[in-house]
Amino acid sequence: MPTLIMGSARDIVEHCGVPRFLYTDFPLGNPCGKPYDHAMQLSIISQAIALFRTATSANTMEQTPYLWSADNSWRDDYARVDDSNREELAKRGEARRKRQAEEKATGIERAAMIAEA
C-alpha cells in the first residue's frame, strides 16, 4: 500500500527510512499545520497529496514552506538538559522506574513513552 509520513522530527524519520516524507519544521505536536489555521492545514495536506503523485522512489522527502515563528528559541528548548533541571530529571527518572516496577507487578506491560514536559 502506498504510504506517506507527515512529520516534524526530520532526523528520526530519515534515520528510519520511509517511502515518502512531508516535513514541516514545527515543534513536535502539529505536523499537519498550526492549530486552527485552516488555510495552512489545507495547503500542507495538498502538498502531501501532490507528493503521492510525484514521488517515484523510496526516501523521497519534501519540506513545507512554513516556519513556526520568528522566535526560534523553541529549537533549543526541547528536551533540554542543563544545570537548571538536571537534579529534577534524575528524580523524575527514579520515580518513573518505581512506577514502572509497580505497573509491571500489576500486569500492565505496555508502558507509555516518556512524555515531554
Partner: protein, 158 residues
C-alpha cells in the same frame, strides 16, 4: 537570537533519557532497505486512510495503549496525546486537525483532489518494542486499512 536549524531529536532524546538515569539508549527503527509502493490509481480516484499515534480521548483509550479505530464523522473534538513526546511547553493539541488531517482531507474530497476518505481512522500506540509494532500493531493496522478499502495511507506521528 536562535538560528534556524533542524532539532536533533535523537541526540536530545538520548541525553534526556540519560539524565533520567536510563543506562540503555533507545534504539530507533531503521530500514536498511526502504520499501516503496507506487500509486495504483490516480489520487482523484483513490481512497485515503489516516493513521495517528494519538489514542482516542475515551476512558478506555486513555487507560489502554493499543490499536483503535475511530469514525471520521463526526471529527472527534479531542484526542488523548498526554503520554506522547511532543513539545508541550510551546504548543498544544487542542485542534485535532493540526495532527490528524481529517477536515482538510474532506475539503480535498469535495474539491476532487482525492476520491474519498475512509470512514474511520486508526490509532497505533508508540512503543519501546519495535517487535510489538512490527509483528502485532502494524499488521493489525494494515488489515483494518484493507477492510476500509483504502488505496493510500497517510501516517502522522506526533
Amino acid at each position: 537570537m536562535t538560528e534556524i536549524y533542524d532539532v536533533p531529536y535523537m541526540e536530545r532524546t538520548r541525553d534526556y533519557y540519560r539524565a533520567q538515569g536510563y543506562t540503555t539508549d533507545y534504539v530507533w527503527a531503521h530500514n536498511s532497505e526502504t520499501p516503496f509502493t507506487p500509486l495504483l490509481k490516480p489520487m482523484h480516484a483513490s481512497r485515503a486512510g489516516v493513521v495517528t499515534t494519538a489514542m482516542p480521548d475515551t476512558e478506555i483509550g486513555r487507560a489502554h495503549r493499543k490499536v483503535y479505530s475511530t469514525l471520521v464523522a463526526p471529527i472527534p473534538g479531542s484526542m488523548y496525546t498526554k503520554e506522547l513526546s511532543w513539545h508541550q511547553a510551546v504548543t498544544h493539541t487542542d485542534d485535532v486537525n493540526s495532527f490528524i488531517p481529517l477536515e482538510q482531507l474532506l475539503v480535498l474530497v469535495d474539491e476532487g483532489g482525492i476520491g474519498s476518505l475512509a470512514p474511520r481512522f486508526h490509532s497505533v500506540p508508540t512503543e519501546y518494542s519495535q517487535r510489538n509494532t512490527m509483528e502485532n500493531d502494524a499488521p493489525e493496522i494494515l488489515e483494518r486499512l484493507r477492510e476500509d478499502e483504502v488505496d493510500v495511507a497517510i501516517l502522522v506521528p506526533l
